[in-house]
Symmetry: C2
Subunit: 431 residues, 2 copies
């Protein structure tokens, strides 16, 4: 039986996933003459670029999340359902979900990317990731619990296990996490854990290639590396991690690093939606789309954002899997549907590169915007305001702003609460 959604007689656009692409498209279609249905496994939009601050106890999940129903309150043509999509039946134009069948006239796939462990099961099982607020909170709880355990641990080696952290992947997420951990080590630990010697905390950032922040100007990778090293992070380039037994992180060069926490930020892949033709996917599991975001081989299926791969002259392997392409594609697809309703021709997608940036913590960032490259305090201010501006919800902006101001002047990430102590109760070094 189909899921209970009113039949309005309008053509129905079903959007799977309310990340940047899906949410922007849905909002742009508000008040259009389509019935728009958004399906997401969560009831809220998450602002991914700040997940790492949730993990580092700087922000609460709610400050960077926005309930979909609130976003749709004023729009009569929009419907939201919490559900997990299992497959698509392209012949019957139906989605199979855990809440039942959902019929569509047009289907938009914007379900995003997931962590890529490159087939390494040992790492998948034991590593921490930061691809959702739940994962970020889990890392935060573990981090804080481990500090508590280290305080009472008399054995040096075991204490190292609780304290040392290996971050794999020198992209923006890895760099930002390393920077935040280094700040925690410098400003929080000596005050909160006076019995601990903060110098015992080692933070490793491992990068497989010879440069951090690949995709930005190499100078920026060098700058970020210098910043991190100044803050005590041990940066190792050309270092690939091949195994993690829960006690030691093992690199391709057979180096062993003892650490109770491995944070994996080394790459993303996508889930393959069942029911789509095999040849709709490329080898990185992204869905191949044309310049109208239409999935190759279908007339009524579209893909946006991280999960979509639109090969263009500037981006022969598809756009980078970050917020901007998703936002722009979502808005453009909505505009095209509005044009369609008016009998107008569709307009091809053109990507406007608004720039990239990464922060290494207070006063320090690197940025490339509109051909300009800059670093340091100004880049950091720009980073703050761009992220504040992009956050959805005026109250979220206000709360995040207050938190940042507060943390800046107090040198304090103040949300150091272990909310689910039972989950971490049994953490102990293997031995």
């Amino acid at each position: 039986m189909p899921v209970n959604i009113p039949e309005t007689g309008q053509e129905r656009i079903v959007i799977v996933g309310g990340g940047f692409g899906g949410l922007m498209m849905a909002r742009k279609l508000a008040k259009s003459d389509y019935q728009v249905i958004l399906i997401d496994k969560r009831n809220y939009h998450q602002f991914q670029p700040l997940f790492y601050q949730v993990a580092m106890a700087g922000l609460e999940p709610s400050s960077i999340s926005f309930p979909f129903r609130k976003a749709f309150q004023d729009h009569k043509n929009m419907y939201f359902r919490v559900g997990k999509v299992n497959a698509v039946d392209t012949g019957r134009k139906q989605l199979e979900t855990d809440i039942g069948i959902v019929n569509y006239d047009h289907l938009v796939l914007s379900y995003g990317a997931k962590t890529n462990f490159f087939g390494n099961k040992a790492i998948e099982e034991r590593a921490f990731t930061i691809k959702s607020t739940t994962q970020a909170l889990n890392l935060r709880n573990t981090l804080l619990t481990d500090y508590e355990k280290a305080v009472i641990e008399r054995d040096f080696e075991k204490r190292q296990w609780f304290l040392d952290i290996v971050i794999v992947g020198g992209g923006p997420t890895g760099v930002e996490v390393a920077g935040a951990l280094a700040e925690m080590k410098k400003y929080i630990l000596p005050k909160d854990y006076k019995e601990l010697d903060a110098k015992e905390v080692d933070i490793y950032l491992l990068q497989g290639t010879d440069q951090l922040l690949m995709g930005m100007d190499p100078k920026h990778g060098d700058t970020a590396e210098r910043y991190l090293k100044q803050r005590g992070v041990i940066v190792k380039k050309n270092t690939r991690v091949v195994d993690y037994d829960g006690e030691y992180v093992i690199t391709a060069d057979d180096e062993k690093i003892k650490a109770g926490k491995l944070i994996w930020a080394a790459g993303v892949t996508c889930h393959r939606m069942e029911g789509l033709r095999e040849d709709a996917f490329n080898k990185r599991n992204r869905i191949m789309v044309d310049e109208y975001s239409k999935v190759k081989g279908y007339d009524d299926i579209y893909a946006l954002g991280d999960v979509a791969c639109m090969e263009t002259e500037d981006f022969p392997d598809g756009h980078p899997q970050v917020a901007q392409p998703a936002i722009q594609q979502g808005k453009q697809l909505a505009r095209n549907f509005i044009r369609r309703a008016k009998g107008k021709d569709w307009v091809k997608f053109e990507y406007r590169d608004l720039g990239t940036m990464a922060t290494v913590g207070r006063n320090k960032a690197v940025a490339e915007i509109g051909g300009m490259k800059f670093k340091g305090f100004f880049a950091w201010l720009v980073w703050l305001f761009v992220h504040l501006y992009a956050l959805i919800g005026a109250k979220n902006k206000l709360i995040v702003f207050i938190n940042w101001i507060w943390n800046y002047f107090t040198y304090d990430q103040s949300l150091r609460l272990i909310i689910n102590p039972k989950d971490q109760a049994d953490r102990n070094p293997p031995s």
Copy 2:
């Protein structure tokens, strides 16, 4: 082996539980010449009077919590350990905890109260409680998940199960929850869940006696009842709940109310600390103390707050189990220890009744302060400011204040995020 805590040569005061009593005492002993050790199973203090707002999606747990380590940052004589106390060995002056043995010179028990189900296992297993932020979040997640399920449920009876809520206990917590749910029904549901008929949501408040807010002037109970009824809450007095099979709440008069959620706010009891003499407890499991908060039969053990029962002329059954007695006892005991260090005599505890109050939602509250009794908008303002003032942490005060202002003017509790959807995935009416 004893837990790793530095031996400073000072006399050691161990405080079990960092609620109002324990935390106030610890802070007051800062810079004294005792070594003060606080043990709590959480790493943060929780502000109990606002748990219900966490459950109702009005506040985040972090806004009403404060990390103990942050509270103790500037105090060299204070130590904090996350741990659960299993028993006390009064002969050896040791606590047995899940992190090891903790020796004490003086022991202060302030581990608080827990929900009393009066031996009813069926209710204990299925009811929701609001005695911790974790429980409050669990209720919030379930509430929101059930609305999502109700939206897609075609069967009227099943929908009733998802929507209807029974609150048992007409004390301040029960009254405040009922008021907040009624507001959610009136202001949020029609906007967020346009497919639902908010009139289908029934909110019951059941009270065993013939008056709400026992302990306050009966007029206030009547006022609260009138406020709640105006907002659509079904108030049933002289109604005792005897069973809940997960589908129907059953009263002593054999009435059956179909509801998927039973919120139990009908009373508290205490955990009996193992190792203490049987006759140290009264029949409600509170620890009998003299006017110096000293436990009867011991010279080096004290009890504070909800778990302590100090029989006085004004309070022959002990003080009410709310914040003020705990705060005042904690401060007084700390003062007496400081007097002790100076060779001075101890001073008996005298309770200053600062008043009681309860809110029924926006613009409506009842309060008794210093012999004055008032209600309505002014009482509500007083309620807001008293709670804001009592909150620990300047940033918490600011964030809560902003949330309240925001929610007041937008008629919105905006934190409607289901953070752990997996926990509620399987909720369905029994049938």
